[in-house]
């Protein structure tokens, strides 16, 4: 008769063995599914749901599924319920080799817990053998309704490896025979006590009151204090602590032969901070290290060498891979200020990383990089402009553009030479940036360099060059006039012609006047392009109504060809009208 009070574990033997066999088979299959597919895979979910349903109903009936684990089998109540010929790959062996002897599922088990159980196995199975320990993993999970048992003997054997345990010897003779002669003061204390037996309990009370101060339970607020200490230690960021501890150890370490390998710990600490996206903390770590470096420089040069070698190694590829991953996966969640802080702290590698980020960023996101790069480049431009110049790369145009832009804020022959180099750049972006920069420089050389841009293959750049150049001397003027020869003009489009004419029209010089006179002599017959050029010239002269240009217009109106007179007259009229208004 079933007992009401006890939820019996005993299976009604006749029909249950098969049920348990099926159940255990399902357990191993579900486990296989977990190993093959990711946990969210439909197959896994199906297996899990099926197994859980069956197990749940079994547990409802029987309270517990209690499996004994053998090398390649599971046993239930003295019967083998699962056996796998392939010992090494069997689930029982996976448990067995870590000393797990018993595994029990209890009523109350949830599907979530069961899923975690399989996930734990999967996770351990994929670890390298000497890091994998299923018992420790189960222990850490501390399941509510899955219990296990691994005997001490397993771990004792692992420790002793065949050696005997240290033996503690007790001399029983000495322990249980012979006499203890109490010293005078101890004997007297007992006697005194015995004399005042009446008040024995009172004196104990006194003692207890005396003890209370130190032994009394902690007060509510004292408990809260303890709890908050524990809480704050739980919250301690491990990565930051690791960083701090590494620095402290480095500071104290006097076993110099350990230092080279200690460098690996510094990298580990540094990378841990980066991996967690704590750029500001990583920056602080590097800064602390740098200041330690200063302290060590004269005191313990061996340590300085380690620090310097560490800092140099930040430039290596594996760091960049990490930085790249963090930068692109954080998708803007990390503050720009922190990136800035970090790149500034690490120094030169920061520049290299930035360069690579530019190289790897899609154009649409470049502007956010610019915000980080600008202050860093400005700092370098201030301190070591030559280093920056070397970092320009044709293949990394946006990055190089930023460098040009930053360096252009400075003046000096070196900068001019640097910028001059871009005339032959294959990147229009860089030629253009250098042109703008040259225009801002206050140097005659720079202006001459700009002339080179009139031959640029890019019309846009040529137009810009024409717009920004200021003709400084005769030789420049000669050069410009040569470029503006009618033959060449005919090959250009209107906007470039306009730009050239504007440049000339705003220059007062007899050679300019002569130039235009020649232009107006161009024959029109069957040459619409020449007509167009002439009309544009009139239009531009009108726009710059200085004395020289007015004279020119008047002269053509009087002496020029019939078709031209009309246009010049009209232009002069407009100039006059504008002046009256």
């Amino acid at each position: 008769m079933p007992n009401l009070k006890e939820r019996s574990f005993s299976v009604e033997k006749n029909n249950s063995w098969d049920e348990v066999r099926d159940l255990v088979l399902l357990l191993t299959r579900t486990n296989s599914a977990f190993k093959i597919f990711p946990p969210e895979h439909a197959t896994v979910k199906q297996f899990l749901a099926d197994f859980w349903e069956r197990l749940k109903s079994f547990l409802e009936k029987n309270g517990c599924l209690d499996l004994i684990i053998g090398e390649n089998y599971f046993e239930y109540m003295g019967e083998k319920v699962f056996e796998d010929a392939d010992v090494a790959h069997s689930l029982p062996f996976f448990f067995f080799r870590d000393g797990l002897q018993r595994l029990s599922f209890h009523r109350g088990l949830t599907e979530k817990e069961l899923s975690l159980f399989f996930e734990t196995i999967r996770e351990v199975a994929f670890r390298p053998p000497d890091e994998a320990d299923i018992v420790s993993a189960f222990w850490e999970k501390n399941f509510e309704n899955i219990t296990f048992y691994a005997p001490d003997e397993f771990i004792i054997e692992k420790i002793t490896r065949g050696r005997p345990l240290p033996e503690y010897e007790v001399n029983f003779e000495e322990l249980y025979s012979g006499k203890i002669e109490l010293a005078e003061e101890d004997r007297k204390a007992i006697e005194d006590w015995q004399l005042k037996t009446e008040s024995q309990e009172d004196s104990e009370k006194e003692k207890t009151i005396f003890l209370e101060e130190s032994l009394a339970d902690l007060k509510e607020e004292e408990w809260r204090m303890i709890e908050s200490i524990i809480h704050s230690h739980r919250e301690l960021p491990q990565d930051e602590e690791l960083g701090r501890l590494s620095l402290e150890i480095l500071y104290l370490e006097d076993r110099f032969d350990h230092l080279p390998s200690f460098k690996a710990s510094l990298h580990e600490a540094h990378k841990a901070l980066l991996k967690n996206g704590k750029l500001a903390k990583a920056a602080a770590f590097i800064r602390d290290l740098t200041s330690l470096n200063k302290i060590f420089a004269s005191w313990q040069p061996q340590k300085s060498a380690v620090i310097e070698s560490f800092l140099a190694e930040i430039e290596q590829d594996n760091y960049f891979a990490l930085i790249k991953e963090i930068y692109f996966s954080s998708s803007g969640s990390l503050r720009k200020e922190d990136w800035l802080d970090y790149f500034l702290a690490i120094g030169r590698p920061g520049l290299i990383f930035l360069a690579s980020l530019y190289q790897n960023s899609p154009q649409t996101t470049i502007s956010s990089l610019d915000e980080i790069a600008k202050p860093i480049l400005e700092k370098w431009a201030e301190e070591k402009p030559e280093d920056l110049m070397k970092l320009v790369q044709e293949s990394n145009p946006y990055w190089s553009q930023m460098i040009i832009r930053t360096l252009a804020l400075k003046q000096g022959p070196k900068i001019t030479t640097f910028l001059a180099g871009f005339i032959r750049s294959s990147q229009p972006l860089l030629r253009r940036e250098a042109l703008d920069a040259l225009a801002r420089l206050d140097s005659p050389t720079a202006k001459k360099i700009i002339l080179g841009y009139f031959h640029d293959e890019d019309e846009e750049i040529r137009v810009t060059a024409a717009k920004i150049i200021k003709i400084a001397d005769d030789s420049m003027l000669d050069h410009v006039i040569k470029i503006a020869s009618p033959l060449r003009l005919r090959e250009k489009k209107e906007r470039e012609i306009v730009a050239i004419f504007e440049m000339l029209a705003s220059t007062i010089h007899p050679k300019v006047k002569k130039y235009f006179q020649e232009i107006f002599k161009l024959p029109w017959f069957l040459k619409p392009k020449n007509k167009k050029i002439c009309l544009l010239a009139i239009e531009i002269l009108k726009r710059y109504p200085n004395a020289q240009n007015r004279d020119l217009l008047k002269e053509i109106m009087v002496k020029g060809r019939r078709q031209l007179k009309k246009y010049c007259q009209q232009a002069l009229k407009e100039i006059n009208l504008k002046e009256i208004i």
Binding site: H106, I180, E201, E204, I226, E248, L252
Partner: protein
């Protein structure tokens, strides 16, 4: 399909947790009162009413279960975390239930107050599971159901249990010795094994704490540092447990304490064991062990999975509460909680150990009062108080003179703070001073007629003075 609501809110979880803790505490009171008075006693009835109400509130719609799994209580699927304030209650209820192999108690919605009363009465009467079951059956209790524990192959007797505990103690020693003596640290640190060892130690602390404390009386076995490290490890786990650290934290605390003096590998033996006062330069060499240990552990941290906290502890266990101590680095900062815990235990174990340079060790109770006198400069005051409470006024292993003239060895402290002066002692010499293999007596026991205590401690004795080796008595019980 009637599935349970999958994710209760944190508010509800907190309420369940609170209810669970209160149920354990009231349950404990009832067990205590039930032993002193009849169940019809006013005090008993008052507590019963409160317990009943709490349970009823929690099993209105469905049964409420209280489970024990691997030494942890779960109430309505919520793991109960206890802190020192409730420690005696948790410990007693856990002991009482596991003693009777009860792993689950389910309270059904129709539960009545009289059923609860009978249940407690039955529990008090029953010695084992079957007896309890029979008692409940006879009393026709239907709304409380119990399940038997299946987790551990329960060791039948105390002796077997103690023997198992001692085996794991000496295994720890061997394991640490291997780590200390290996040529190659890569071979030396087998953290997977260390972790498993800590789990085993934890289990023994949960199951057999008094005896574990007894074993910490073993001193200078093999090598001082090894033996010392095991003692510090065990007492640190026990202290951490009372603070309410979780299981995984306790394992890390154990590992940290285990390796706290790892840096002493590098300290020359002549200095470690110098039988005289150390010269300043020798002191300086000793004082390197924290950062040598921390440095070595840090080197292997990633490869071996050494917890970061172990590095903290190795580095900081000689830093005092006022931040003095050693080693000092470029920045002063408060030590990690684990370092503070280990510092207390380390200090205690060190001064209670006889060394060539310390020919007379402090007795355990002297050590505690000395530590108390150090004030807040040396130790964290609250942690120290909890440590002292844990150890009791006469810590396990103390030798005491009784008013009967007998000499006793403290083998178990009384969990009731009011009875801290009344531990359980093993009589090791009769009133004539004759050494005997005497019984273990409970000093809280009273004469049923006069209502006077049968035995009372007059004073603590210095075991050294009488050539008494407390550890031998604990070990003897596992050997004979």
């Amino acid at each position: 399909m009637n599935q349970r609501i999958s994710a209760p809110s944190t508010e509800i979880l907190r309420e369940i947790h609170q209810a669970g803790v209160e149920i354990i505490v009231r349950f404990n009171s009832l067990l205590k009162l039930g032993r002193l008075y009849s169940v019809k006693n006013v005090l008993f009835q008052e507590q019963l009413g409160l317990l009943y109400k709490r349970i009823k509130d929690n099993c209105q719609e469905e049964e409420a279960t209280l489970k024990i799994r691997e030494g942890t209580f779960f109430f309505r699927n919520v793991r109960l975390r206890f802190i020192f304030a409730n420690y005696p209650a948790f410990k007693t209820v856990l002991q009482e239930l596991t003693k009777r192999e009860v792993a689950v108690i389910s309270f059904l919605p129709e539960l009545t107050e009289s059923e609860l009363e009978t249940f407690i009465a039955c529990l008090l009467k029953a010695e084992g599971y079957n007896q309890l079951l029979a008692g409940l059956d006879e009393a026709q209790i239907v709304h409380i159901q119990i399940e038997k524990g299946t987790e551990r192959t329960s060791l039948t007797g105390k002796k077997e249990k103690d023997r198992a505990t001692a085996r794991i103690y000496f295994s720890s020693l061997l394991h640490l010795k291997d780590a200390f003596e290996a040529e190659d640290p890569h071979q030396a640190l087998r953290l997977n094994t260390t972790r498993r060892l800590m789990q085993a130690l934890f289990t023994h602390i949960v199951d057999n704490e008094a005896f574990v404390f007894g074993l910490t009386n073993i001193k200078n076995f093999d090598e001082y540092t090894l033996n010392h490290s095991i003692n510090v490890c065990l007492l640190s786990i026990a202290l951490g447990r009372r603070l309410g650290l979780d299981r995984n934290e306790l394992i890390e605390l154990g590992i940290s304490a285990f390796f706290h003096d790892f840096g002493k590998i590098e300290t020359p033996k002549e200095i470690l064991d110098k039988p005289a006062k150390l010269e300043p330069h020798e002191r300086a060499v000793i004082e390197k062990h924290p950062y040598h240990g921390a440095g070595t552990l840090a080197l292997w941290r990633e490869i071996k999975g050494i917890p970061l906290r172990a590095i903290h502890v190795a580095m900081e266990h000689h830093i005092k509460e006022d931040l003095s101590g050693y080693p000092q680095t470029f920045k002063k900062r408060p030590p990690h909680l684990f370092s503070k815990i280990v510092k207390i235990v380390d200090y205690f174990d060190a001064i209670t150990t006889k060394r060539v340079y310390r020919p007379r060790a402090f007795t355990r109770e002297e050590a505690l009062s000395l530590m108390m006198d150090q004030g807040d400069k040396e130790f964290h005051p609250l942690l120290l108080r909890i440590f002292i409470q844990m150890m009791g006024f006469y810590p396990i292993g103390s030798v005491v003179a009784l008013n009967t003239g007998e000499i006793g060895l403290v083998v178990e402290t009384n969990p009731d703070p009011a009875l801290t002066l009344r531990p359980k002692v093993k009589i090791i010499a009769d009133k004539n001073g004759q050494r005997i293999d005497g019984p273990v007596v409970d000093l809280a026991e009273k004469d049923p007629i006069s209502q006077r205590y049968l035995r009372t401690i007059v004073k603590g004795l210095d075991p050294e003075k009488y050539n008494i080796r407390p550890a031998d008595y604990f070990m003897a019980s596992t050997l004979a």
